[in-house]
């Protein structure tokens, strides 16, 4: 089980980074799938299988629903991505440092914090509703991964509902 933790962290970061660095449908969905997998793996490694199950369900639904809107294609590393790229690397380094600092808990805090940071970056720099909702779903899943069963189910449900919300198909300018 202990060997799964580094893998969970790596997958979570990778998913979060792809989500942050992509602004189109396929990239966003891939990011969501990967970060869900990483978080679920972390929960499983902590012996919280029910939470892991809820995360998989919520992540799968929201990722699937995100396929229906947003810009087509992968949209990875569009122009102006340098700050986000730097941020994803910084989050990786800080996440690794956190892993060395955080003691006395079996919860997948490291993975959750990394996904929250990257998801928040996506949410707060989004130029399109679909991308913003994907970022919000990522944060909800990350928060859900640390709570009890009720919180996990609520987080997964919120992530799923965020996937259902309309995006209007418009592309708005990011500030």
């Amino acid at each position: 089980m202990a060997a799964l933790a580094p893998a969970a962290f790596a997958i979570s970061w990778l998913g979060g980074a792809i989500l942050l660095l992509s602004h189109a449908r396929r990239g966003v969905v891939l990011g969501l799938v990967l970060l869900t997998a990483g978080l679920a793996l972390g929960a499983h490694a902590a012996g919280r299988d029910q939470v892991a199950l809820a995360l998989v369900a919520g992540g799968a639904v929201t990722a699937a629903l995100r396929m229906r809107d947003g810009l087509p294609g992968w949209g990875l590393l569009p122009a102006g991505s340098t700050p986000r790229l730097v941020m994803s690397l910084l989050v990786l380094i800080l996440g690794l440092l956190m892993g060395a600092t955080v003691k006395g808990t079996t919860l997948p805090v490291q993975e959750a914090l990394v996904v929250v940071a990257l998801g928040a970056g996506r949410l707060l720099s989004a130029g399109h509703r679909a991308v913003a909702l994907a970022g919000a779903a990522a944060v909800a899943l990350a928060l859900a991964s640390l709570g009890g069963e009720v919180t996990a189910i609520a987080g997964a449900a919120v992530a799923a509902v965020l996937g259902t919300l309309p995006t209007g198909g418009d592309v708005e300018a990011a500030a």
């Binding site: 629903l65 229906r68 955080v102 399109h128 913003a132 909702l133 944060v139 640390l146 209007g168 500030a175």
Partner: protein, 400 residues
């Protein structure tokens, strides 16, 4: 994957059906509000509502404010629209109140944010989402960090993110929202600042604060007071400089929030600081916000300020002068500040005094309320006076 393109959204809200959908959301919101106000309950063995009694009282106050504001609307369409949208928003607030931890609050806030940004408005997306979005993230981080017990520094950072989370949702300094008076209130930062954030702040802070200890508690206390004072100063100076009366209203909200934050920061065994903050937020929701809504029409219409008796009384109510609810709140706040440090009480007293003249300007900006608006105004002032004369009842409703 591309075949999923045609999958309809669960809540499509096309333009022609958005009215019906809003009404449905409004009804759901009303049901949630009633559930949250009634109190904690269990469903299938799961406890579904948070235990924050003051937040439930604030929720009820928000419902009152919404109904009174709707009563004052001039046309039936405006009234129904406001009620439906307001109830839908109130449903979101009810969910937040039901959340029993910062973690869950963050999650639910993300849901409310999602619904909020799914309504098309001319405002740039980033401006709409960054206050509640940052708030949700910060509250979530506070929830995560509070789980780590290995280093007291995490407790300090958790307190920091908790306070900043509330500040972000409320759109306070340093996380101000962009205020555009002509923008519809339901889709603006004002709705978050005056309608959502008060209940959220009370729900989160009253649940978390009793569990704070050591450095985390100190950081929370100092940050609340410092950020509170900054907001009071910013609100005062901004109101003084404000070119338009609408801006003065916005800054008055900042100053009132600042006082409330100071109250939250004064952690005392007798809870006078928290009680003051609770009363200030009750006053903000039931008096200041409805009065703002009433004044908005005349301010945007460029009507000249008036000094009729109702305007003067409104100014007095906004200034927190006896016998209105703001008086009792200020009494408790000054008492709590005296217990901590008398210079703080002096600063707060001077700030309260400095805001008196602005409050009269705000009262005058109501112009001459007629018909429904006059009835609504009298109702608001009567309630403010009743709560001011018997603040003990309001406090007991909040579980103090």
């Amino acid at each position: 994957m591309s075949s999923m393109r045609g999958v309809p959204a669960v809540f499509p809200l096309p333009r022609e059906r958005s009215g019906e959908a809003t009404i449905m959301l409004g009804l759901a919101g009303l049901a949630l509000t009633i559930l949250a106000v009634v109190g904690p309950f269990s469903l299938l063995g799961v406890r579904l509502a948070g235990s924050s009694q003051p937040a439930r009282a604030l929720l009820a106050a928000s419902l009152f404010a919404l109904l009174v504001t709707a009563l004052c609307m001039r046309t039936e369409a405006d009234r129904m629209g406001l009620i439906a949208t307001g109830l839908a928003g109130l449903g979101g607030v009810a969910l937040l109140v039901m959340a029993a931890s910062p973690l869950l609050t963050g999650i639910i806030l993300l849901l409310v944010l999602g619904v909020y940004i799914s309504r098309p408005t001319p405002q740039p997306l980033i401006e709409r989402l960054r206050n509640p979005g940052a708030g949700a993230v910060l509250l979530g981080v506070a929830g995560i960090l509070s789980m780590i017990k290995s280093d007291p520094a995490f407790a300090e950072v958790a307190s920091l993110t908790l306070v900043l989370g509330v500040v972000a949702v409320g759109g306070l300094v340093p996380y101000l929202y962009r205020y555009q008076p002509e923008q519809a209130t339901a889709g603006s930062g004002m709705a978050w600042s005056a309608f959502v954030a008060p209940a959220l702040a009370v729900a989160v802070l009253t649940q978390v604060v009793p569990h704070l200890h050591g450095p985390g508690k100190s950081v929370f206390s100092v940050l609340c007071v410092v950020i509170g004072l900054v907001n009071v100063a910013y609100g005062l100076f901004g109101a003084w400089q404000a070119p338009a009366r609408a801006e003065t209203w916005r800054h008055s909200f900042l100053a009132e929030w600042g006082l409330a934050l100071c109250g939250f920061g004064l952690l005392l065994p007798d809870h006078h600081g928290t009680e003051a903050a609770y009363l200030l937020l009750i006053s903000l929701v039931t008096v200041r916000f409805p009065l703002y809504m009433l004044a908005r029409g005349s301010v945007l219409g460029g009507e000249t300020g008036r000094w009729a008796p109702l305007n003067l009384l409104s100014g007095l109510a906004l200034a927190g002068v006896a016998p209105f609810i703001g008086f009792a709140a200020r009494l408790l706040l000054l008492g709590a500040a005296m217990e901590v440090a008398w210079p703080l009480a002096l600063v707060l007293m001077l700030a309260m005094l400095a805001f008196v003249s602005h409050s009269f300007r705000l009262g005058a900006s109501l112009a001459i309320p007629r018909g429904r608006a006059a009835v609504g105004l009298i109702l608001i002032l009567a309630l403010a006076a009743a709560m001011g004369i018997a603040p003990g009842l309001v406090l007991s409703l909040g579980g103090f």
